[in-house]
């Protein structure tokens, strides 16, 4: 599906190569996690973003340092793209002391406030008001920042979307609503979940909407860059990325509800394959891509080793973090 706006300023190959590396990092990390999960090295449940890497790489790549975002239960890609330390990431998902969240949150709560990541979220739709509030903070503080809310097509049914579109429109907040439309809400297709379309909803609230092929890295990157800058100067925007979920809703989901053709057709739309082809066509060498894969794999191996070696979290330390230390508790 082509971007609805004309692409004036295609990203130069070196910029795309960097984003491609981000995609490769996400793909390899998710694939590693899938194996770790199957091997019972990861507790709880995890939702992988294999197939959706172009959205994470393209949108996060368009953000400035002061920008902030809230993500979803399927948020690994966004957080990795933003540059979370890979070892702290693995430690978190594996429930180790040194995890970015001390092993207290796990996959559904990966956050890095130093990078403006307001967290993955276990509550569908809950990132929308968080990002709205962050956009309000940007506006009030005149930080020049933009806040991004990632949400899935299933989340569109939550009232939070409506409330936040309205607030963002009323206050002209510097905010981008990024829908990762992968066509599935757990085990149900979007068509049985949501009767509206996001473009028409945007039109109702006067928020410009743009749809993009979410498996086309350059298209996402280009659209995201434009949309984020438009939000920065002119108020809220919607970016809808049509993408594909390769794995089950969660790891271990056998996807019986999906027909074989659909699953067989997934690789055809593989964002990594497509971007690799584009890069090769633009003159990047095969060996550069191979080197990139190797470098990602080695980064992951190092991080994973560190995670495996890391201690289990300390209960008392966790307990001490329920509240922030303050002298006020000694007061009055």
């Amino acid at each position: 599906m082509p971007s609805s706006a004309p692409r004036n300023d295609p990203f130069p190959p070196d910029r795309l190569l960097a984003l491609h590396r981000t995609m490769q990092l996400i793909r390899a990390t998710e694939t590693t996690l899938s194996k770790l999960f199957a091997d019972s090295e990861i507790p709880g449940f995890i939702h992988l973003s294999v197939g959706q890497e172009a959205v994470a790489a393209g949108v996060i790549g368009a953000l400035a340092p002061q920008d902030t975002f809230a993500t979803t239960h399927r948020g690994h890609g966004h957080v990795l793209a933003r540059g979370v330390a890979l070892d702290l990431f693995f430690k978190e998902i594996m429930g180790r002391a040194g995890g970015i969240c001390g092993g207290r949150g796990g996959s559904m709560h990966v956050a890095d406030l130093t990078l403006g990541v307001l967290g993955a979220n276990g509550i569908v739709g809950a990132g929308l008001p968080l990002a709205t509030g962050s956009a309000l903070a940007h506006q009030t503080r005149r930080s020049g920042g933009v806040a991004v809310a990632f949400f899935g097509d299933g989340a569109m049914a939550e009232g939070a979307l409506h409330e936040c579109l309205n607030m963002a429109a009323l206050w002209r907040l510097p905010m981008v609503f990024v829908c990762e439309n992968n066509g599935w809400s757990e085990f149900s297709p979007t068509s049985r979940q949501f009767a509206a379309t996001l473009d028409k909803l945007g039109a109702a609230f006067g928020i410009p909407h743009r749809q993009v092929d979410g498996n086309d890295l350059a298209a996402v990157a280009q659209a995201a860059t434009e949309v984020v800058e438009a939000a920065r100067s002119d108020g809220p925007r919607i970016l809808e990325c049509i993408t594909t979920r390769w794995h089950g809703h969660f790891e271990g989901d056998p996807q019986r509800y999906r027909n074989a053709d659909e699953i067989a057709g997934l690789p055809e739309n593989d964002p990594l394959r497509r971007s690799a082809e584009a890069l090769l066509a633009a003159g990047i060498e095969e060996q550069d891509l191979a080197a990139l894969v190797a470098s990602v794999d080695s980064d992951i191996a190092v991080a994973l080793e560190a995670a495996r070696a890391d201690a289990l979290p300390d209960f008392d330390a966790a307990f001490r973090d329920v509240y922030t230390p303050t002298t006020l508790t000694a007061g009055a």
Binding site: P43, G44, F45, G95, R96, G99, G103, R104, G105, G106, M108, H109, N121, G122, I123, V124, G125, G154, A155, A157, E158, G159, S185, E186, F187, S188, R192, Q193, F194, Y257, L312, P313, F315, A318, F319, V322
Partner: protein
Amino acid sequence: MSKPLRYVNAIAQALSDAMAADPSVMLFGEDVAAAGGPFKATRGLLDTHGPERVRDTPISEASIVGAAVGAALTGMRPVVEIMFMDFVALAMDAVVNQAAKARFMFGGQCSVPMVLRTPHGGGLNAGPQHSQCLEAWFAHIPGLRVVCPATVADAYSLLRASIEAPDPVVFVENKALYALQGDLDVDAPRGIGKARIDRPGRHATIVTYGATLYAARAAADRLAQDGVEAEIVDLRWIQPWDEEAVFASVAKTHRVVIAHEAVQAFGVGAEIAARIASDLFDELDAPVLRVGAPFMPIPFAKSLEAAYLPDADRIVAAVKDTLA
């Protein structure tokens, strides 16, 4: 009439039997129909009872429960599922301001015969937003009933009772129990508000509900090795809770520990402890002790969650404290 099956299948069976018995019973919730439920508690029901009465909803918790209230007010007996109890936070208005109050505030004109099924509890490393035990919120609200079955048999008969009940019931399942196996007695008497003496004893009473029953049993086994006979009262119903049964046990043992998985502070055990301590003031030979989760969100990591959840060790220690 008895056959062994899993807790989760007992739920499905109760739903199916209730739908067969009463055409006004209907189910809706996220992925409960075509997929048979995220935990398979509604498996097969779409096929058996058809798409009008078994419906997948969009992800709209507030309106799912609100729609249940509207349907219950106009002739249906809806059973809705909220996938994790943590998500009831999105639907509190419908439960508390609408369902609980409609009968009272409309002067007794109507009833709101609906059931909100939802799983609580840890043990699956599902983390801080997928594990909470929030039943105390509902127990505090006049007009609601709250129930939490611990056994396969109770999963069936308490769900049947909840669906037959004329007023809104918050039916709390414990997701760590879904795989539990046990016997079903579909003809067991069904009722509201009665506890069950899970194990008789004379030295101390352990009052509990939900999955903590199994920690209590393990504790009682260990205490028995030391010659302490603990009586276990499985509350089953939290609102109303069975004062008679609890008080009778405590009047016999004079020592009591209340154990549950929810956060101890301001939890269900607080009310029961306060009532025992005041109403049986002269019967108590020791302080009423409580075993509940510490005052922190339930953590994700296996090691942290294991340390967090109330277990047999803590119950044993508390019972010993009451005997000291």
